[in-house]
């Protein structure tokens, strides 16, 4: 019975923190948001060198062969610094590839592990419901239609695509009939696209009744929750630091009960979320029968807590909080995006209710 990070996991956290502080300090994040694409490449190179790109890939394919818990620590660190990197798409592709044939695995896993190739994820319609007539059909071995809100697809080499029946396809981004165009979101540190399929050659993984997609969705929800945890932690830390330093009416504002209690409420909401996210990752790795429910709750609960923290941290900062100066808004927007990606909290909680047979 040991519900804590191992020594190796703590070292992993520390090395990530170090490399992200070097490769993605605030001014570099800001530069990326303003169009300097090199930043994301540098961050990814640094992450790949540390092994993050192959975290979930078996050692035989050049990866670290670790579990979702380590991936969660990575997502949290990225959220904490608002660093741009195709970690989510690439990690989920690695998971999806686990059920591919060995030839496909040999083709892709080493390249993903080394950081040479990255992957994107186009499953929004199957997971969160189709918008604007999107959706991807698969007939006569061809994929047709559109997928919105694809994650990390722009610049990727490989796509994981869910069709309307919930089957998963691997699509190379050079394939004929495929076009990817960026969507602009509030969060300039993230990579979101629309993908159009005009008769693209599809390669469905096993037709398993949606199990693979469910596992992928659960992992994505947990990683998004971890991203929110990291971003919210930074928002809280910055608020507390500011409250200790900013003086008004002859006192540091953190000595005012109103400000102190806002900070306390943020901490009281956020701190136990760490255990929720850890448990969700641990369950994904080790207790599959609990995994889906906890993943849903992690996604939904972190969405609510981090909306509260983002807003409250901004309030504690007062006027400076709404400017670009401290970069507080990067975290604010990051959790704003995470909340909606692959389903907002109401939708995700409805899923949790269905899992427990509470919906007719």
């Amino acid at each position: 019975m040991d519900f804590a990070l191992s020594e190796n996991q703590r070292l992993w956290q520390a090395s990530l923190a170090g490399l992200l502080n070097r490769s993605a300090p605030l001014e570099r994040v800001r530069a990326f948001a303003e169009g300097d694409a090199a930043v994301a490449r540098d961050v990814w190179r640094a992450l790949a060198e540390a092994g993050a790109s192959g975290l979930l890939i078996p050692e035989t394919y050049g990866g670290l062969g670790l579990g979702l818990l380590e991936a969660v620590l990575t997502a949290e660190a990225l959220g904490q610094t608002a660093a741009p990197a195709p970690f989510l798409g690439t990690s989920l592709a690695a998971l999806a590839l686990a059920s591919a044939d060995s030839q496909t695995q040999e083709r892709w896993l080493p390249r993903l592990a080394s950081g040479e190739a990255t992957a994107g994820l186009a499953v929004s319609e199957a997971v969160a419901g189709a918008r604007d007539g999107a959706g991807v059909s698969f007939t006569a071995r061809r994929l047709r239609g559109r997928s919105l809100f694809a994650i990390d697809a722009e610049g990727a080499d490989l796509l994981i695509v869910a069709d309307q029946t919930g089957r998963i396809h691997l699509v190379e981004t050079g394939a004929a009939g495929l076009s990817i165009s960026p969507l602009t979101s509030i969060d300039r540190t993230r990579n979101l696209s629309e993908i159009i399929f005009e008769g693209v050659d599809g390669r469905p993984l096993d037709d398993d009744g949606g199990t693979a997609l469910s596992r992928l969705r659960d992992a994505a929800w947990v990683l998004l929750a971890a991203d929110m945890l990291g971003a919210s932690q930074t928002l809280l830390d910055k608020a507390v630091a500011y409250a200790k330093e900013r003086r008004q009416f002859g006192r540091v504002i953190g000595s005012f009960q109103a400000v102190k209690h806002l900070c306390a409420e943020m901490a009281a909401s956020l701190e136990p979320c760490r255990a929720l996210v850890w448990y969700a990752a641990y369950a994904w790795d080790r207790i599959p029968q609990e995994s889906s429910l906890v993943a849903a709750h992690a996604k939904a609960h972190l969405s609510e807590v981090s909306r509260f923290v983002a807003r409250t941290s901004t309030e504690v900062h007062g006027g400076i909080g709404i400017t670009d100066l401290l970069g507080l808004h990067f975290g604010f927007k990051r959790v704003g995006l995470d909340r909606q990606l692959l389903g907002g909290p109401e939708r995700v909680r409805d899923h949790a209710a269905r899992l427990q047979g509470l919906v007719d």
Binding site: F149, L183, F249, T314, G319, I320, F332, R339, Q340
Partner: protein, 394 residues
């Protein structure tokens, strides 16, 4: 209690709407020239639908104040879709202040051109170190011959990059208690030594500026009120600002827009309005919007009767800003993944206005007295709770 208009006021509302509609060809559109805008403003002043209660000798229409008439005029612009009269900090804040404490010469010089839109003003109050505690401001003005010489920095100066003039708080008596050492100066933004830098906010736009002063010389007669009277003068102005925030009509319009949005948008083929959870959130907010709307009617009646609004008035900013923020949050959630799109994205809805509002409204919750300051005011002025005791050490 009678919500019907008197025959006089009903006729007045018809008259205003008739006037606006009959001058539809003069309405300045989105691409109107400055001349067209100013011509429309002049037309409105001469009809009495702008600057209505400002005395004629200062360029206004000179009508006796009638709050209900003012309200009916405002509603007529909304009802007809006619472009409203010019607004801005000059008209809403400087003019009332000058009327109250300006010299005759200041009134004659500045009010008329300001009303006509010939002079655009910006406000120099907040400083980086003085937010909630505005009176701790440190921008200094020392005497030198016939001038004050200003050094320091202002922030949150919304129209500084467009403005012709600034009304500004500066510390002229550094040794006086903090509220007694401040003076209120007005001066041209073209004065040498003023630098305006745009201040980008989380919305991605530069809605505000920082303004830096280096040896900026302002003639001494451009002080409003006496030396060291600036805090009292500014409070006149701030009182006028309070009324600008928390408009219940705006909330009602937002609610209608969200209701329409929820009827139109579908997720996985299901209309958003058919999702009981989204509908419930909409209904909750409708309850709050109606509450604030009716509270507004109550406040209007109190104004008409010259009664003090008391608690019902003190809460308007706190509740109104929060409500608008929550409305934006619901719209974003109703849009779901579409709700995160922004700026020039394909599939963007309503120009990204909901995300913009969600962020901008948070600025309003903070600006003009944070929610925490508002709660102090409600507790102390509204409920008579005691102030915090002064601390032993500063």
């Amino acid at each position: 209690m009678d919500l019907a208009l008197s025959p006089h006021h009903a006729a007045f509302a018809r008259e205003v709407q008739g006037f606006l509609l009959s001058h539809r060809r003069e309405w300045p559109g989105p691409r109107a020239t400055r001349a067209q805008v100013l011509a429309w403003q002049a037309r409105l002043i001469s009809a009495g639908y702008a600057a209505r209660t400002i005395p004629r000798e200062y360029g206004g229409f000179g009508a006796a104040p009638d709050i209900l008439e003012s309200r009916l005029i405002a509603e007529s612009f909304i009802a007809t879709g006619a472009p409203g009269p010019l607004a801005g900090q000059g008209i809403s804040m400087l003019v009332p202040t000058l009327l109250e404490v300006g010299t005759e010469d200041q009134k004659r010089t500045w009010i008329g051109p300001t009303l006509r839109g010939e002079i655009i003003w910006c406000q120099g109050y907040s400083e980086p170190g003085s937010g909630s505690d505005l009176a701790s401001l440190t921008t200094r003005a020392h005497e030198d011959g016939d001038d004050f010489v200003i050094n320091g920095q202002k922030i949150w100066t919304s129209t500084a990059h467009l403005a012709d003039m600034m009304f500004c708080l500066v510390r002229t008596e550094p040794d006086a208690p903090k509220h007694d050492g401040i003076s209120y100066l007005i001066f041209s933004m073209a004065t040498p030594g003023i630098e305006v830098r745009p201040l980008r906010t989380m919305t991605g736009q530069a809605e505000f500026n920082e303004v830096f002063f280096t040896d900026v010389r302002v003639p001494k007669n451009q002080i409003v009120g006496g030396r060291g009277q600036g805090w009292r003068v500014a409070n006149t102005t701030l009182r006028h600002e309070r009324g600008m925030l928390g408009d219940p009509n705006a909330a009602e319009a937002r609610l209608s827009a969200i209701m329409a949005l929820m009827r139109e948008e579908t997720v996985g083929g299901q209309r958003v309005i058919d999702n009981p959870l989204m509908r419930e959130r909409l209904m909750r907010l409708q309850g709050e919007v109606l509450t604030m709307k009716f509270n507004g009617l109550r406040l209007l009646t109190q104004s008409l009767k010259g009664e003090s609004p008391g608690l019902a008035g003190l809460i308007v900013k706190l509740q109104g800003c929060e409500l608008n923020h929550q409305l934006a949050a619901l719209a974003i959630d109703a849009l779901g993944e579409l709700g995160v799109l922004y700026e020039d994205s394909t599939h963007l809805r309503a120009g990204g206005v909901w995300q913009h509002r969600y962020m901008f409204d948070l600025g309003l919750i903070i600006g003009g007295g944070t929610a925490q300051i508002q709660k102090n005011i409600i507790g102390e002025r509204g409920l008579g709770l005691p102030r915090e005791p002064r601390p032993l050490a500063g």
